[in-house]
Each structure stands twice: as C-alpha cells, then as structure tokens.
C-alpha cells in the first residue's frame, strides 16, 4: 500500500507492506539514524518525532504515519550546520558509541520545543525512554541544559528545522 508522509520536510510517497513498522520504512527511505535496539519500545534508539511528538518508531505502524510530519536527526542538522543540541552533545562528550544518540536527540528536541527553560529533572524526565549503556547519562543532561542556554543566548532562532 501507499504511504504519504513528510520526512525531514520532504514529501515522500512510499510503497510499503501494510504491517511494516515506521522504523523499517524510515530506514528503507534512507534515514539510517533510526536504529533497531529492541523492537519493543523499551530502548528508544528508534525514536523519531511524529507531528511534534517523540515516539518509538519500532512499535508504530508505518500506516499510522499517513499524512504525518516526521523528523529524524538527519533533519535536525549536519556536520557543517549542526543543531544546537547536536553541537552540545559533541561538546560535552555525550557521545560514546553513539547508537542511542539519534533517539536521545529527538527526545531532547521535543523537550526544548515545549520547554525552553528545563531543569535537570525536566531533562531526566524527557529522556527517560532513551536507554544508554555507554555514558551513564551525566554528560547528556549537561548537554541538553547547555543547548537550552545556548538557544536563549542567540537572537535568531537556532532551534533548527522543525
């Protein structure tokens, strides 16, 4: 069946199996940042933004994303022009193996989109579905707080593309 959806601002019309997960469809469409970690919505490495909400794409049927706007980290920024969150992850050393980073960045962005002044507790709450086995999370919390502070400083919006 056909799926019409917008991924990182670009319209896609994809031919998919009806029972395909959004994770598989996004990866097949080239968004390799969306990772398989558990397939059951527990680890968050597959998290993407669907109409502004961060959700586990591995347990979301692709068909449910009909007409939706999807964001993955490929749409947040690139090495030449990174999103303030991506830069903050890099600067604070929040990236070790990096496998959980895309999902975490999406969850972090969802937080800052709604709450530009989060506390550390807010950040922990927002990222509670993104398991990481490498970093112990400490630097990640700092990264999101740093990005929030950065975003407030600059006059023009550095919050990246929606």
């Amino acid at each position: 069946m056909k799926l019409n959806t917008k991924i990182n601002g670009k319209a896609f019309c994809l031919e998919i199996q009806p029972n395909a997960t959004l994770m598989d469809v996004l990866r097949q469409a080239g968004m390799k940042s969306v990772k398989f970690g558990c397939g059951e919505g527990s680890c968050g490495s597959c998290a993407v933004m669907i109409d502004g909400r961060p959700r586990n794409s591995c347990i979301t049927l692709a068909g449910c994303a009909e007409g939706a706007e999807i964001l993955t980290v490929e749409g947040m920024g690139n090495p030449e022009n990174p999103h303030v969150l991506q830069k903050a992850f890099v600067d604070t050393g929040s990236t070790q193996c990096g496998y959980c980073n895309p999902g975490s960045l999406i969850a972090a962005k969802a937080l800052l989109d709604k709450n530009p002044n989060p506390t550390a507790e807010d950040v922990k709450d927002a990222l509670d579905g993104n398991l990481c086995r490498c970093t112990g999370y400490v630097k990640r919390i700092d990264a999101v707080l740093q990005a929030a502070a950065e975003s407030k400083k600059t006059t023009k919006s550095t919050r990246g593309k929606k």
């Binding site: 990772k35 070790q96 990096g98 496998y99 579905g129 086995r133 112990g136």
Partner: protein
C-alpha cells in the same frame, strides 16, 4: 613557500664502519619518555567521530544497502540439553522466499572456540558451526537464509526436529557430581594449549596458586571469617545487538562487515571454522553500538560466511534482543568462597579464595576470566599467605564470555564485602582497614607472577598508585565522616559503603598491537590501526597520542581502524589494552615518522637533524631562524627530491600490566517495610595514570558506574526449572534510565605511569566493579544485613532483614546497630577450621593438576 632544495654534492663514500646487524624484529620499550608539556594528550579534545554520529552520518553495520540481501535466522534450541535425533528441513526449504537451509549435516565440523583471544587461544575448542547436540536453550539448531526476515522466521517454524531431551545440568555446584550428565561428551572437543581440561566431568578449567601457607596464616589470626558470595548472571546490553553482514567482493573474497571488538581474531577463527584460508577473508568493523565484551567473541561471522559463500549473495544476520540475552554471551556467574584471617591490629594474615565459575554450555573465556579473579583482586591487599583455587564448570545455561571487569568484578565483590566483614570483626573503621593494607607505589605482589592468562603472569612493581587520594577525596564527596554509621531509626534507614579496586592494563608479553602512519602533502596523516573503537573513543585517544608524538594537531590525524585488509594487526578491544598497548605502538610508529619529517626538514633547510624542533606542525631550524611547515616537508618528499613516502609501521607488546586504581562510595536509603533500596549518591575516584582525554576517561567512568549500579540492584537472569530465561527483554531485565539516576560524582586522580604512553594506564573496565560491593556494604551499614546473593532486590533485602530480626530475638541480642560496633572476636581454634576442611571438597574434588 617551499625552499628550493640544495642539490647534494656526492660525497666520497666513507669506509663502511663495522656495524652490528640490527634485527628486523623490533624491541618494545618498557618505558616511554615524559615530555615537558602535553600539547594534545591530557586535553579533552573533541571525539573525532562524534559530529558524524550525532548527525546520523556515521555508519553502523546495518546502515549500508546491499542489493539482493538475504536475511538469516538461526533456529534456536527449545531445550537446555538434547540430542537432535532427526532434523527435516524439506518443508522449510520449499517455503516461498527461502534460499538455503543448513543443518549440521551440511557444514564442516571443526571444533573451535568463539573467544576472541590471541592464538593459540586459552579456551577450549568445544564449539561447532552446527552440531547434532544442543547444550543450552537457544543453542544453534539450523540456519535459514531467505529473501525477507519474515520468510526466514516462518521457515524456522517449518523445520521438524526430533529431540531426545537429556537431563540438564543447571546447578554449577552439582556439575561435577558423579551422576551429572556430560555436556561435552563429543570426542573432538579439546584445548589447543596444555592447560587443564576435563570435559567428561563437566570440568572446563582449573587454576590454582599459593603463596606462603594459608593454614599457618589462619592460626596466626585473631579472627578467621569464611563467607561465600554468589555474583550473578548479567548481560552487557549493548544498545546495538550483535549483527554481521557477509558478502563476496569483486575479487570473490569473503567480506564480513561485523559488529566486533576483535576483527583479526574474527578473521582467523572464521577461517578456521569454515575451513578456508585466512587470505580469503576480510573483516571490517564500522561504527558499532557498544560491546562491553560480548562482542569480543566470534559469534555470527561463521554463519554469515557460510551463507555468503554457499549462496554467493550478500546476507545479514542480526540478533533480536531476546537472542542477545539468551544466545550471545553473559558474565560468568560464580560461587566465590573467601576465608580470611585478620589480627586485631588490622594485619591480614591469610586470604583463601576458592571459586566455582559457571561458564554455561561452552567454555569461551572460561579459564581467563577465572584467572583474573585472582590476578586482578588478590594483589590489592598485603598478605603473607594467599591461596587461590578456581574451577570453571560447564552447565546447560547461557554461555559466559568476556564482560567488562572480566572476573575482577566477581572477585572484587567478594573481597570488598569480606574486607568490611573483617573490619567489623576487629572493630576497625573499614576505610582505615583498607588504607593500612592496600598495595602502594613501589610495592609488588607475588600474585602478579603467579597468575597469568593461560600461562604464568608477569612480575611487576607498582609504578603509580593514586588510590590514597581516590579514597580521601571520595570520602569528602560522600560526606563519609558525617554520615557513616548513622542509619537513623525511621522506617527508612540510610547507610554508606565503599570499596577499593584495581584492574590491569593489557595482557603483558602476550598481546600485540600495530599502527601504520603515512603523511599527506597538506601536513595531515593517515593513521591506520587494527585497534578497535567500540565507542570508547580509542580512535581519538590514539590519534591524540600520535599527534603528540609527531608534533601536530589531532585534527590533522585521520584515523582509520579495524579493517583486516587495510590496517595492521591488533588483538582488539579487551583487557583494558587499547590506550596502554596500542598507544605504545602509536608512539613507536610516530617516532619513526617524526624522525623522517625531521630529516627532510633538515635537508630542506640545510641544517642538522639534531637542531630541528617541531611545534604544532612546523619544523624549526636552529634558533628558530628557519622554518618549514609539515605540508612543505611532505610536498618536498613526495615530489621534489629523493622522493619517498614519509611513513612507518610500529608495533608494541607490553611488559607490564600496571593497575589503575579506584575507590567507590555509595549512599543508600533502605525502606525497612518493603526492602526497597534507593541509591541516593554514588562517588567514584579513578587513578588511570595520565588521562589521555580526560573527558572521555570521565565518560568511561560514569558509564561503567551506572552499569555496575544496575547490575547490583536490578539486573538478573530469571530461569524456569528447565533452564529457559524468562526475561530476555528490556521489559523485565532492568537497566537504568535517566529517571533512575542517583547523584553521580566522578573524578580522576592523575598519576604518571612510566611504562605507559605519556603516563597512561587504563580506565575502561575498573569502575564497573565498584557498585556490587560498595552498595552491599552500604546496605549492611544501613540495616545490618550482609547480602551475598545479588542483585539486591527488595524481596531479598526484606527477607534478610526479617531473618536478622528473628535471630536477634532468639539470641536476645539487641537489634543490629551500625557496623561500627565491635563484634565478638572468634577464638582461633573454632569451627572455621572445620569449615576450611570441608570447603575444598566443594570447590575442587579432587584438586586436579593440569593435564599434559
């Protein structure tokens, strides 16, 4: 602008001096020079791949698209122990989309180990590509390759297997009983080196060593304590499960793109398993999503290789999370009995450590993890009489492998709990007790030489030890003086606990790493190395070492790693080796490159090599009057005069394994009505020598601590009565999220290790070992119970508290106070001596010497 070369006037050849022939076999130095200042090293430079990772640009195994890709599914055994009486795959083969199905009848039978270790491996060759017997739930039964993962899964359900179910061995303490079923009854399992191996009694490994006479030592003690500890099963839970892609390249060679920590061992062992030459295989490790030891194993490559070769199509095998739990590798659960003697003045007179290690159905790492229990823990405290007796046994349970900590985790748990018990028994503060007994700079331990990995170890004296400062600073962070021993008397009681740790850095005289560096005409370098970055940042760390040695910036060092065709050999990421061992190879190589640069610069500027200095990519002549840039140097060498490629290869083996040291502290709050343990604060101080990249070292420490913490409190394998894991998913196997975090404080205590590259030791493993003992000790401090069977679940805590209250009532003693109260000192001639006689029968019956 490059200076024009001075044409050399041909000199008359000087009479050839008599020079001793220099062997082409390099000598690896024991010591490295300490520079005056660090330009690149010991700076928190940006991890070179991190921007690519956060932008989704860096590629992991699955992130390439190959046309015609086949999907592999391996049918796993439903039984813990069974013989395959018949297996019929005809229906499966006929299913739409199925391209190939393999059973044990279709593949070569070559015994090998899956352990990623140097050759010949100190692990039994007891594993087969496919076998007619299955030895744990999830063990390989058949391989299916199909056009889609769904078709492959569907085909697995159509495979008809008739099993003769055998009695299973599920208790490691009963594995060697007379009537225990033999798990490896096949004729062809063997060990490749002369080490102990008695599979017909399910007895995989035996290690023992002794210093002095523990019996004598116990007699000298005022108190003798014996306790048995049961460190438990755990899985590494890398967020990326194992995955491997196999395909034939343009030259019809097998390429394995795999999530591995050991590309070279993977190449060799896959070649062995498939019966093909090493030169037919190329192993590439792209970015991988964590390993922690479970990927120090050659688990998927043989299957992918088989399918790619037989079908001539690219194929992928990705483990599900359930398969990762059940059929990858785990930590070896153990039974650790420590008997220790201590004098009232705090002198430890004897330590006896006896271990039964459960390696599960196959023996990979069975010997070496066991050896590390002794070698990485016993040297920490001074004792004249030490005994270590270890036995690894087979069971029909998930297979133990390498897991961060590697035996030190299990033994440190037991030892550090025992240290607190001893301190309490003699009425001494547990920190003072450790401070007076721990090894110090300049001292050695006979254990270093006594316990190696499959062979004798390497003697060494401690060249750097920052443990004292780890302890004193840590005490401040956790507020030890104010809070220790003050549980309060509310429903919720608080306690503090701590522990001291050591690990190692590389496996001396055994492991080797090599590095190749070549220069580019803009002054940048390509550094090719086998060393394996599994997210640890070793590409960056080694790049910093290279940049420091040559005299350029990290950003001019382009690192490419872990490709068996392109990069020189390295054992891979394990044994906390990469910085210490491969870092040495980097220096050995970079020094040669620097010499070449200096020589060319001297030639350009018409000066002497010894007058050339380098600073930040620029070569200066005498008095800094002349200068040339690295780019000019390389251009000159590449294009202008006496052209040659500036480059070199360097190798290194280490001659020591200097321990990093660490002290961990935990503050807990125990709910006395529910048993729930809340971890309020956790502090870890680490001496890793020079931190090549402090930010990365700190990150390693934080990650290891959180891993150790969930291991202590919530991670467990729950089995049914038939040996099947009931919770192979994140839903029921609990690792922690941001919402579970305690307040976590980590700090580095710098020291300088002369045998390490720029003073470095290692950092990646040690901190995973702290939580189990520190939290255990904190719980004891809070509510007076000594838990020996982690994880410390609420039910275990509540049950233990009730038992303690019951026994307190029976004996009429007051409810347990904080552990600072002195316990009655046991008389020397007491029961413990009888226990000592009993225990050996449990652990090694009878003690067997290595079979020749």
């Amino acid at each position: 602008m490059a200076k024009t070369a001075k044409k050399e006037t041909p000199k008359k050849a000087a009479p050839a001096a008599k020079v001793a022939a220099v062997s082409p076999i390099p000598e690896s130095p024991l010591f490295f020079e300490k520079p005056e200042k660090f330009n690149q090293v010991n700076h928190s430079l940006t991890k070179i791949d991190s921007m690519g990772l956060v932008c989704g640009q860096q590629k992991y195994v699955a992130d390439i698209d190959l046309p015609n890709l086949l999907h592999i599914k391996v049918l796993g055994s439903p039984h813990a122990h069974a013989v395959i009486k018949s297996i019929d795959v005809e229906d499966a083969r006929k299913m739409p989309g199925v391209v190939a199905v393999f059973t044990y009848k279709d593949v070569p039978r070559i015994p090998r180990t899956t352990a990623g270790q140097g050759f010949p491996e100190p692990s039994p060759y007891d594993t087969y590509l496919l076998d007619s017997k299955v030895r744990f739930v999830g063990d390989r039964v058949a391989i299916v390759a199909a056009e889609t993962p769904e078709a492959a899964s569907e085909a697995c359900t159509k495979i008809k297997v008739q099993y003769q179910v055998l009695k299973a061995v599920l208790d490691p303490e009963k594995a060697r009983d007379k009537d225990a079923p033999i798990i490896h009854d096949e004729k062809d399992c063997r060990v490749p080196i002369p080490i102990f191996y008695d599979p017909k009694h399910n007895h995989c490994s035996h290690v023992e060593t002794a210093v002095g006479d523990v019996k004598k030592g116990f007699k000298q003690a005022d108190v003798v304590l014996e306790k048995t500890y049961y460190p438990h099963y755990a899985q590494h839970c890398p967020i990326e499960p194992h995955i491997c892609i196999g395909y034939l390249d343009e030259n019809d060679r097998l390429v394995l793109r795999t999530s591995t920590q050991v590309p070279f061992h993977a190449r060799r062992i896959t070649a062995q398993t498939l019966g093909i030459p090493v030169k037919k295989i190329r192993v590439i490790k792209p970015r991988i999503g964590g390993g922690f030891g479970t990927k120090q194993e050659v688990l998927l490559e043989d299957v992918c290789g088989l399918v790619a070769l037989k079908t001539r199509r690219p194929c992928v095998w990705a483990l599900t999370r359930a398969e990762e739990f059940m059929a990858a590798r785990t930590r070896h659960p153990m039974v650790v009995t420590i008997q220790s003697g201590v004098k009232k003045n705090g002198t430890i007179t004897a330590i006896s450590m006896r271990i039964i290690s459960n390696t599960g159905a196959y023996g990979s790492h069975g010997l070496t993890v066991l050896s590390n229990c002794g070698s990485k823990v016993l040297p920490l405290y001074r004792a004249d009489n030490i005994e270590f007796i270890g036995d690894t046994v087979y069971t029909n349970l998930p297979v133990g492998g390498a897991y961060r900590g590697y035996g030190a985790t299990q033994a440190a748990f037991a030892m550090e709990c025992q240290m607190d018990e001893m301190a309490e028994a003699i009425g001494m503060d547990p920190i003072k007790f450790r401070q007076m007994n721990h090894i110090k700079e300049g001292e050695s331990s006979p254990i270093f030489k006594a316990l190696g990995e499959g062979r004798e170890g390497v003697d060494m004296a401690i060249g750097s030890c920052g443990l004292s400062k780890c302890i004193t600073e840590g005490m401040k962070h956790i507020d030890w003086a104010k809070k220790y021993g003050k549980p309060g008397n509310g429903t919720k009681r608080r306690g503090l606990g701590m522990c001291c740790l050591m690990q190692g850095s590389s496996i001396p005289e055994i492991d080797m790493g090599a590095v190749f560096i070549k220069m580019n005409e803009d002054g940048s370098f390509n550094m090719l190395l086998g060393a394996t970055d599994l997210g640890t940042g070793s590409d960056t760390v080694l790049g910093q070492i290279a940049a420091e040695t040559i005299g350029c910036k990290l950003t001019d060092m382009l690192v490419y790693s872990s490709d068996t065709d392109m990069t020189p050999f390295d054992v891979g990421a394990y044994a906390s080796s990469t910085t210490y061992l491969t870092g040495g190879a980097v220096i050995n190589c970079a020094k040669k490159v620097r010499e070449q640069i200096v020589a060319v610069a001297a030639s350009i500027m018409g000066e002497k090599s010894e007058d050339i200095s380098i600073d930040d990519g620029i070569c200066y002549g005498k008095g800094r009057k002349n200068k040339v840039t690295f780019g000019q140097v390389c251009n000159y060498a590449m294009y202008e005069h006496k052209q040659f490629q500036i480059g070199a290869i360097g190798s290194h083996i280490s001659h020591a394994s200097p321990p990093p040291f660490s002290a961990h502290f935990a503050e807990v709050e125990v709910d006395t009505e529910t048993g729930e343990v809340k971890l309020l604060k956790y502090v870890a101080g680490v001496d890793c020598g020079t931190a090549i990249n402090p930010q990365l070292a700190d990150g390693q420490t934080q990650g290891a601590c959180m891993n150790g913490i969930s291991f202590a409190l919530t991670e467990e394998y729950i089995f049914d009565e038939n040996g099947r894991m009931l919770n192979p998913n994140f839903g029921n196997y609990k690792i922690w999220s941001t919402k579970d975090m305690p307040e976590l404080v980590t700090f580095l205590v710098p020291t300088y290790e002369k045998t390490g590259p720029y003073g470095a030791k290692s950092v990646s493993e040690i901190s995973i070992n702290g939580a189990l003992p520190a939290i255990g000790n904190a719980i004891k401090n809070a509510v007076g119970i000594r838990l020996t069977r982690p994880p410390y679940t609420a039910e275990k805590v509540l049950t233990a508290m009730k038992e303690l209250n019951k026994s307190a009532k029976v004996t009429g003693k007051a409810a347990p106070k904080a552990a600072s109260a002195a316990k009655a000192v046991k008389a020397k001639a007491e029961k413990p001596a009888v226990k000592a006689a009993k225990a050996p029968a449990k652990s090694a019956a009878p003690v067997k010497k290595a079979k020749k």
